[in-house]
Subunit: 155 residues, 2 copies
């Protein structure tokens, strides 16, 4: 597991279990204007810069029909985040919160999701706005935004 971050005052790490419960395959890569995490915006914005989602074969065949949706949910792997913190100090001020009470990238399974606006599809490449991840973030999945299927938004 990547552990590029130092631990901060009062943060709590746990021993990492050495078992593997499931495995992921990267299905493409996300290209953004931000080469390092320090340069990433804190949140994606619908009017943010254009980013590219490059879907690798054979998964590009699964894109058919996605162009009908204005908003898509993008799942990616936060490959630079450490995974073993149960309490974190986002403000670096000694005050900590439980990992499940914040949306930090540091989590036992560092899966990121963003709702992106689909601007264009060019073959296996999607041009989108609204992302905030570092350049070359591995892609895990793409789904139509749940709000486009129905109004109560509970799935």
């Amino acid at each position: 597991m990547a552990q590029h971050d130092d631990i901060r005052a009062n943060e709590v790490a746990v021993d990492w279990p050495e078992r593997i419960d499931a495995v992921l395959v990267f299905i493409g890569v996300i290209r953004t204007p931000w080469p390092t995490r320090a340069e990433c915006p804190h949140h994606g914005r619908p009017d943010g810069p254009l980013c590219r989602i490059e879907v690798s074969p054979p998964w590009d065949a699964a894109l058919d029909g996605i162009e009908a949706f204005e908003r898509i949910e993008v799942f990616y792997w936060l490959h630079e985040a450490r995974r073993d913190l149960v309490r974190q100090s986002p403000g670096r001020n000694g005050l900590t919160k439980g990992t499940f009470a914040i949306r930090s990238p540091v989590r036992p399974n560092p899966i990121g999701t963003s709702i992106a606006t689909l601007v264009a599809r060019e073959g296996a490449i999607l041009k989108v706005r609204g992302l905030d991840c570092v350049d070359r973030t591995p892609l895990l999945d793409l789904k139509p935004d749940r709000s486009q299927f129905r109004s109560d938004a509970s799935r």
Copy 2:
């Protein structure tokens, strides 16, 4: 990979890549009233039945502060889904769509997400409404719902 489903007319499967790009650890289990997928509702409902999210140690220490949120995003592993379909026929009628144009559980990385209403926390157990997954679904992550952090909902 689990492949409990037969392939339907005109669905397209791909050869599964034998590489492992990342690994997941199950951090708990979700208990719902539905013992099989056939019995699950098609979508979770905010007024649906009470479900239990049981967080395993050492990850229960990461729950501190989650009780402040009314809605939480639940990430889980769709452990019964096959992973190799790039075109699917949700209607079982020979008409197919690309996997990324639907929210079916059958996907290369079968990660499910739901927005649940947090009713109560009792130690390492969260009582919630709004889920639709099968009983004993493995838990991957919990995050405060993004809409509770700001209004534009793009992250």
